[in-house]
């Protein structure tokens, strides 16, 4: 019982406790996603193309026997395509028991963001549904676009589920 109570208290405190974000770059923009959704980070390898899939779905790769689809967030966000090179990174996410990889330009670091440094994102029309943006994180000289990666990946227009 004691244990359960402390767990509840911790959970309650968790709402106050700043969350940790994995930050990555797409072109000139810097994004942050919940670190707990990240399973691993890998180098890019040529996936097997899937016919008639949207352009931003690069295909599927073999991740230790599991077939994992790979998305290019650059293409998804309309940031133009870029040559994949040795620094191109795939972030393997685990969202609601689905394993999905996203291609990003580079991974920067893991950051703790106190809630007071997260601002609400202004209403804007963009390639990304603003409901998938949790807010804008401000650091001394940087701005982080905080993305609700689970909602984004599982949203119908990602064509991952169907």
């Amino acid at each position: 019982m004691q244990l359960a109570e402390t767990a509840v208290q911790a959970a309650a405190r968790g709402t106050v406790k700043p969350r940790e974000y994995l930050t990555f770059r797409l072109g000139a923009e810097e994004y942050g996603i919940d670190i707990l959704k990240v399973q691993e980070i890998r180098g890019y390898e040529q996936p097997t193309r899937i016919a008639n899939a949207p352009e931003f779905i690069k295909g599927v790769v073999n991740l230790r026997g599991v077939i994992v689809p790979i998305l290019d967030l650059r293409l998804r966000f309309g940031l133009g395509s870029v040559e994949y090179n040795n620094f191109t990174v795939v972030i393997i996410l685990n969202v609601r028991n689905r394993v999905v990889g996203i291609v990003v330009d580079s991974v920067s670091d893991v950051l703790e963001l106190p809630p007071e440094s997260v601002r609400e994102a202004p209403e804007m029309s963009s390639m990304v549904d603003s409901s998938h943006i949790l807010g804008l994180g401000t650091l001394t000289d940087r701005m982080l676009i905080l993305v609700d990666i689970e909602r984004l990946i599982l949203s119908p227009d990602m064509a991952i589920i169907g």
């Binding site: 040529q46 996936p47 097997t48 193309r49 899937i50 016919a51 008639n52 899939a53 295909g59 599927v60 790769v61 073999n62 230790r64 026997g65 599991v66 077939i67 994992v68 689809p69 689905r98 394993v99 999905v100 064509a159 991952i160 589920i161 169907g162």
Partner: protein, 708 residues
């Protein structure tokens, strides 16, 4: 018996709940076994061994239930056991009513166990059943049967209990022990290494008062086979004697027979532990020839219908419970299969890398790689075999279902099953059960006529439904055949016209019969509770297709119907043919490949401009160009696909155009939908030797695409 009950009271001392799951699983198995055996019983001349097997099932459940404190289950099984015990001792004659009440009890037990397990809230009152069983058990005893009361395998030192006690005592507590009768037994012990052991047996009778008298039947010397025989007068049951004898010699070495030659018809609960008691007791009484009974009872004919081989089958069947098995959760097995799949891929990668090495310089490594390949393959086969379970698991549910259904419909039917031992992947078995149930139900409901109608046509009153399963190449063929009224071509065509389907009179019989599988199609004159609503056959087909199988129907008006279901043996591994299109590799299921031919572009003709066909062996096949279907990027100037592969699915053929044949190999089928979604034209994915993913073609989709 009583020792099991007393174990129940001590059970409260420590936590038994961890064993609950095992008990529930075993009880379910025992119930299923019991039901099968009950349905197989020939009411006219029940087989002793079968009765014993049923008794053992009830006894095992009772023992477990009492231990875990499930009193209602224990009570019900207890009275069942009492009835069965009297039956196997031939104190009562088996009646159809008894079989019925025992079957109902089986259902009730399932319900009770479900409630204990928390799977159901339904409160069942078994007291009425208990009373009914007891009435059956008492029935003849009350009528004053001449035969002396049963000797129950109770404690050895039982002193005579007053004969005034009723034969069936109150459910709870100790079973009434009617006066033990003194029996004369021939006991043969041996072969013995040490002849002196036999004398120690004789000493037992001197040491234990009331056990009885023993006299050497030989002259005190072992015979040619090192066996000793004794003549024993005792009131104890065979089981008690055996229990005592085990102090000196093992049970297998002792055989007990009534003096006079006939083996004692006693199968005591002791043999649940699997002592080869019955191996020694060669039955002298051959089961009477089977008599066809007029009851609406389903009898399952064993694979070999004659009485003798049936007996030979028996030890196999009953020993299914006794064989050394290990209960392992399916997840563990699946994990093992996944890991082996990984190993196969790693091995393939190693093999591929090894190919580039100089075979002379790396002779030993090459040898090792060959060994690795062989061992991996063997390992994979063994692991896959773990998941294989016999078709009997599915077939066993049908006797009961048909029995109940036949009674409801007023029909008579016999079920024959062939090839129950044919093994199929567990996942497949689970998925095929429902479609198969539907087909069997249809066979009885639509196929088999009422007895009068059958006699009028000169058929035997009871219809026959035959279920068979056999391996054919890499697949399994399951057949559901009935000798009923068959399908009427005319009726189907008329109905199809009514439904506005695209049909014409020139269709072949085969084509017409396949219309049955179209959605919303049912020719039943009346919609019955059982079938006829036209949902079903199309669902059956869809389910079977989704398993990578096929279903076909043949029929002869007035003579019966046969539905053949073909399925791959497993969903996890298949033989694939890899083909190259541009720079991409695709896998075709080998089972659907008919032939591959080098293509001459001249052979392709166009039809109405867009569609193209090719003539192969006097047949025009639609052409499907894989590079077009999958929009394969081509970097060089297009030279055109060089190879044509004729594939077949859903009874139709198409010609697939590809660039190159790469090879044939077993592929581990991976689900694409686990992390992605269904891709049209693709049934799954696999991992190639170089670690890359290749997509497996959905040939059915290609065929449909070409045909529409």
């Amino acid at each position: 018996m009583s020792e099991q009950t007393s174990a129940g009271s001590s059970g409260a001392d420590f936590d038994l709940s961890q064993f609950y799951q095992v008990f529930f699983e075993e009880a379910a198995e025992n119930l299923a076994n019991m039901e099968t055996q009950l349905l197989e019983l020939d009411v006219q001349s029940p087989d002793d061994e079968e009765l014993n097997a049923i008794f053992r099932c009830a006894h095992s459940i009772k023992g477990g239930a009492a231990t875990f404190g499930f009193q209602d289950v224990a009570d019900l099984t207890h009275v069942m056991e009492t009835l069965l015990d009297r039956l196997r001792r031939h104190e009562l004659a088996l009646t159809a009513g008894m079989v019925d009440v025992l079957l109902e009890s089986g259902d009730a037990l399932t319900g009770l166990l479900d409630r204990h397990r928390g799977a159901s809230d339904e409160v069942l009152d078994a007291s009425q059943l208990v009373a009914r069983i007891r009435a059956h058990a008492d029935g003849v005893a009350a009528a004053g049967e001449a035969q002396p009361a049963a000797v129950l395998p109770a404690a050895a030192a039982t002193t005579a209990v007053s004969a005034a006690l009723p034969a069936a005592a109150p459910v709870r507590g100790i079973v009434a022990k009617p006066t033990p009768v003194e029996r004369a037994l021939n006991i043969v012990v041996g072969p013995l290494d040490d002849a002196g052991l036999a004398d120690q047996l004789a000493d037992l009778f001197n040491e234990i008062p009331g056990l009885g008298r023993i006299a050497a039947a030989d002259d005190g010397k072992p015979d040619a086979h090192n066996k000793r025989s004794f003549l024993v007068h005792t009131t104890s049951s065979d089981d008690d004697l055996l229990d005592l004898f085990t102090f000196h010699v093992s049970r297998e070495l002792v055989s007990i027979a009534e003096a006079g030659g006939k083996p004692a018809p006693v199968a005591a609960p002791g043999e649940i532990e699997g002592f080869g008691l019955f191996a020694d007791m060669e039955a002298s009484a051959t089961p009477a020839p089977q008599v066809t009974q007029a009851l609406p009872v389903v009898r399952v004919a064993p694979p070999a219908p004659s009485a003798k081989p049936e007996r030979a089958d028996k030890p196999d069947k009953s020993s299914g419970v006794d064989t050394t098995t290990l209960r392992v959760s399916v997840e563990k097995v699946d994990q093992l299969i996944n890991l082996v799949g990984e190993l196969v891929i790693t091995q393939a990668m190693l093999a591929q890398n090894g190919r580039n090495l100089d075979p002379i310089a790396h002779q030993q490594l090459m040898g090792n790689l060959v060994d690795l390949e062989r061992n991996t393959r063997l390992l994979q086969e063994s692991v896959m075999a773990i998941r294989m379970i016999p078709m009997a698991v599915v077939f066993n549910r049908f006797p009961r279902m048909l029995r109940d259904l036949a009674a409801k419909l007023g029909k008579q039917v016999e079920l024959h099953t062939v090839g129950e031992a044919t093994e199929l992947d567990k996942g497949m078995i689970e998925k095929i059960t429902d479609p198969l149930t539907h087909l069997v139900r249809n066979a009885l409901d639509h196929g088999i006529e009422l007895p009068q109608a059958r006699t009028a046509q000169g058929k035997p009153e009871a219809g026959t439904i035959t279920l068979s399963a056999q391996h054919k190449g890499g697949s399994i063929a399951i057949e559901v055949r009935d000798d009923g009224k068959g399908l009427s071509r005319q009726k189907i065509l008329t109905k199809a016209h009514e439904k506005g389907m695209n049909v014409h009179d020139a269709m072949t019989d085969h084509e017409v019969f396949q219309l049955i599988f179209e959605p919303g199609f049912s020719t039943a004159d009346q919609v019955t509770e059982v079938s006829g609503r036209g949902v079903g056959m199309d669902v059956v087909r869809r389910n079977i297709l989704s398993l990578g199988g096929s279903v076909e129907l043949d029929s002869a008006d007035g003579y019966g119907t046969r539905v053949t279901v073909r399925l791959p043996l497993t969903l996890a591994i298949m033989d694939g043919m890899s083909v190259a299109v541009g720079d991409e590799i695709y896998i075709l299921p080998l089972a659907s490949v008919i032939e591959s031919i080098k293509l001459d572009q001249q052979q392709i003709r166009s039809v109405a401009g867009a569609n193209r066909v090719i003539e192969v062996r006097n047949e025009f096949l639609p052409v499907v160009e894989l590079d077009e279907v999958f929009r394969v990027p081509r970097f060089e100037t297009r030279t055109g696909s060089g190879i044509m592969i004729v594939v077949e699915a859903e009874g139709a053929r198409v010609a697939l155009l590809v660039d190159e044949l790469v090879g044939q190999h077993q592929v581990v089928v991976k689900n694409l939908e686990a992390n992605y979604r269904k891709v049209p034209g693709v049934s799954g994915a696999t991992i190639l030797g170089d670690g890359r993913v290749a997509l497996i073609l959905d040939v059915g989709h290609m065929v449909r695409r070409a045909r529409h």
